[in-house]
Amino acid sequence: MFEGLKRWARKKSPWVLHFNSGACNACDIEILAALMPHYDLERFGVLLKATPRHADVLLCSGPATKQIAPRLQRIYEQMPEPKFVVAVGACACSGGAFRGCYNVLEGVDQVIPVSAYIPGCPIKPEALIDGVAKLLGKI
């Protein structure tokens, strides 16, 4: 019963931290747009948090440049367990259009473990909502 309660709470209150790991901004503004009145992710209890210590879900946009990779790792380490990472956008999933650039890694999953991938260049807010909902369904 206790476990059930925990799972319910986790499902209902995903606090997200948004981290741009070298993206072109497009996904970032779409993430923000998803939190805005038109889509309003707060309906699902999603809150955007400023510090990794408070967050449950790390939304990574961008292919992870080499400079950002160590930071990304640190941010990930700072998050308390249980934590989930969502790769937002084609370049976070696989490198996307930047695949082959010499200072770009091919996707966030080269650096930290990823729980969900949301492809799209850029993602639509609807896709983000769908992705987060699917992730929560798995918890």
Binding site: E106, Q110, V114
Partner: protein, 153 residues
């Protein structure tokens, strides 16, 4: 806005330089590196003060720097830089906005702006190796990918 005969003005300003007018109405002026300062001062006299950027190119035989200025038209000063002496006098004293761009050309093309007040790294990180200028054609890049080996996910 009164249309102005820029061609005449520029030809008067640069009697020795080569003034060409592109099909788009933009002007290109070839300038000597040594006379760059005077040229910029002259443009200032015409009311063209806004340096937009500095474009550094590696044309294999020599480097080429282009200084586009935006006034009510676009005037681009081009300067050839010899490969064996990648140096150019700084514009920092005349145009404060040049500081950023000069740092950039130093970082990416290795052309030193002589007399520049602040040559910290700008577009490349502070721990960048000396002597590697990424936009030179003959640059030898360290291995292209450092993709970490698989690992369990």
């Amino acid at each position: 806005m009164v249309a102005r005969d820029w061609q005449a003005d520029l030809t008067a300003l640069f009697p020795t330089g080569e003034v060409t007018r592109g099909a788009d109405g933009f002007f290109w002026v070839k300038v000597d590196a040594d006379h760059l300062h005077e040229a910029v001062a002259g443009l200032k006299g015409l009311g063209i003060t806004n340096l937009s950027t500095i474009i550094a190119e590696d044309l294999r035989e020599h480097y080429l720097l282009s200084y586009p200025f935006l006034g009510t038209t676009v005037v681009t000063l081009t300067v050839r830089i010899a490969k064996d002496r990648p140096e150019v006098p700084t514009l920092a004293g005349t145009v404060a906005g040049a500081i950023v761009y000069e740092r950039e050309i130093r970082d990416v093309m290795g052309i030193t702006p002589v007399g520049h007040p602040d040559l910290r790294r700008q577009v490349v990180p502070e721990d960048w190796p000396e002597g590697v200028y990424p936009l030179r054609k003959d640059v030898v890049m360290p291995p292209a990918s450092v993709a970490p080996q698989g690992g369990d996910k």
